[in-house]
Symmetry: C2
Subunit: 274 residues, 2 copies
């Protein structure tokens, strides 16, 4: 790998996860982690004060589809030793979001100055991990993405009418992502993703969006999503869910990854395949 | 089911788990849960003060073979709502052990008078759940058990040289159970049990006992175990492990199930099969 800034995403496609983390830690990569260290499990991050950690961990156990727990750090220790020995959650993600009292206050590229001795880091599997498995099955994951034309395809996300199982202050609706899947691929997409429960697993809902209170034309962070006549709407539990419930709980502080700027674990898809 | 004491274990073999829990709660059954509510997942219980709960939950996440976490109650609430809605951990097990300051002080049939608002209940899958799966595969689980002749067959248990991943005060060796498996059945037994990671999963070790520091003639709670020339020694992570590490940590109080007196969950083997 060359010194200095990395100009091309492709340089990080087929490297070990550690190499991506090092490129981010040294400031040589500031972009999203889409397609990086392919075949490795990408993860959502949530950092909370210890006094909320037990309830948040119970929330994850009770809601494994949106919150598939891969690792929880020791209090005050930023190393997620179970999934990435030697990694540092303060510096190994390319973009973080700081929330205070239920409001987003800042996005930053490093949280070394913000880390406290009472912080606990939660690492949860992310559906970006699916991409390699879908590709291996002969399905191009890009064809399942929608969004505003002209910008990088993003996956439309909705607050559904399905409710999470509460734990302490953490409660609220399940946030879901929508992929319109060509009818002839639907069974295979369901089967492939179901093999990876630690990356959200199989769909939380298949079929009529109204049955789970979703109007596809009203995506929250992307443009409207249309579903063609030969497509099946498939919804997955989304890693935004724990952020949404933590914000709704109004806890004083939470730090998360920024959308698309995931944590790269050393786990491979084979490690979490069932 | 008749009123009054149940005279025969067979009356509880093929009933829903709820019926076993009710028989125990009402005092009509005081025995072990071996073979009861067949096809349901049986579980280990540990009750700890809340101040130890976060570290204990991290210990379970980091050591899923000995501590496959099925449910964690809300603090002060004895209902494990995820695995047995309506159940009561204070009365639905037929025998409990009370430990204080790292020492066993008492065995009781009910802990309603001992339950406190800061108690958290941990429910962890148990390998008794395997029995039905082995039977379905045409393997008699009784033939895999050893122990002192003349008493009900028990499974020999050993402290191994394998170390658990620590979390806070919880650390120590992995406790394993030994089943000598006829050579022609070894692959099938490994395959069947590996399908149930929430009931300890596949073996933690297969073959030479000395490789994990075990001398089969020195079982800790049963008689010596001999391994025949046509048998393979197979070791599973044992649910005694979390009790052993909690005791070694010298925490002031812990309440567990007594050996063989498990908690019957509403989960079926199909629910946890992967």
């Amino acid at each position: 790998m060359p010194d200095g800034a990395l100009s091309r995403r492709a340089e990080l496609h087929d490297v070990p996860a550690r190499v991506v983390r090092e490129a981010i830690r040294s400031g040589r990569w500031r972009g999203t982690t889409h397609d990086m260290a392919r075949g490795h499990v990408q993860a959502n991050l949530a950092i909370l004060p210890e006094r909320y950690a037990l309830d948040f961990m119970r929330f994850c156990l009770r809601n494994p589809k949106p919150c598939p727990l891969l690792d929880v750090t020791d209090t005050g220790n930023p190393e997620p030793a179970r999934v990435a020995p030697g990694a540092d959650l303060r510096s190994d993600l390319s973009r973080y979001v700081i929330y205070r009292d239920g409001k987003k206050v800042e996005e930053v590229g490093d949280i070394r100055a913000l880390w406290r001795p009472d912080h606990v880091g939660f690492v949860m599997g992310c559906s970006l991990s699916f991409d390699a498995a879908l590709t291996d099955a002969g399905i191009d994951p890009a064809q399942l993405r929608r969004g505003e034309p002209g910008v990088q395809a993003r996956i439309p996300v909705y607050t559904s009418a399905l409710q999470c199982v509460p734990a302490g202050p953490f409660q609220g609706p399940l946030v879901v992502s929508l992929k319109p899947v060509p009818r002839h691929l639907a069974a295979e997409v369901e089967a492939v993703t179901s093999r990876y429960p630690l990356a959200h697993g199989g769909p939380a809902h298949v079929g009529d969006p109204a049955a789970i209170g979703v109007d596809p034309s009203r995506a929250e962070w992307t443009g409207p999503c249309t579903i063609g006549p030969d497509e099946v709407p498939m919804f997955w539990a989304c890693g935004v869910t724990p952020q949404a419930v933590a914000l709704a709980a109004g806890i004083p502080e939470m730090i998360t990854h920024a959308t698309g700027h995931m944590f790269l674990t050393d786990l491979t898809l084979a490690d979490i395949r069932r």
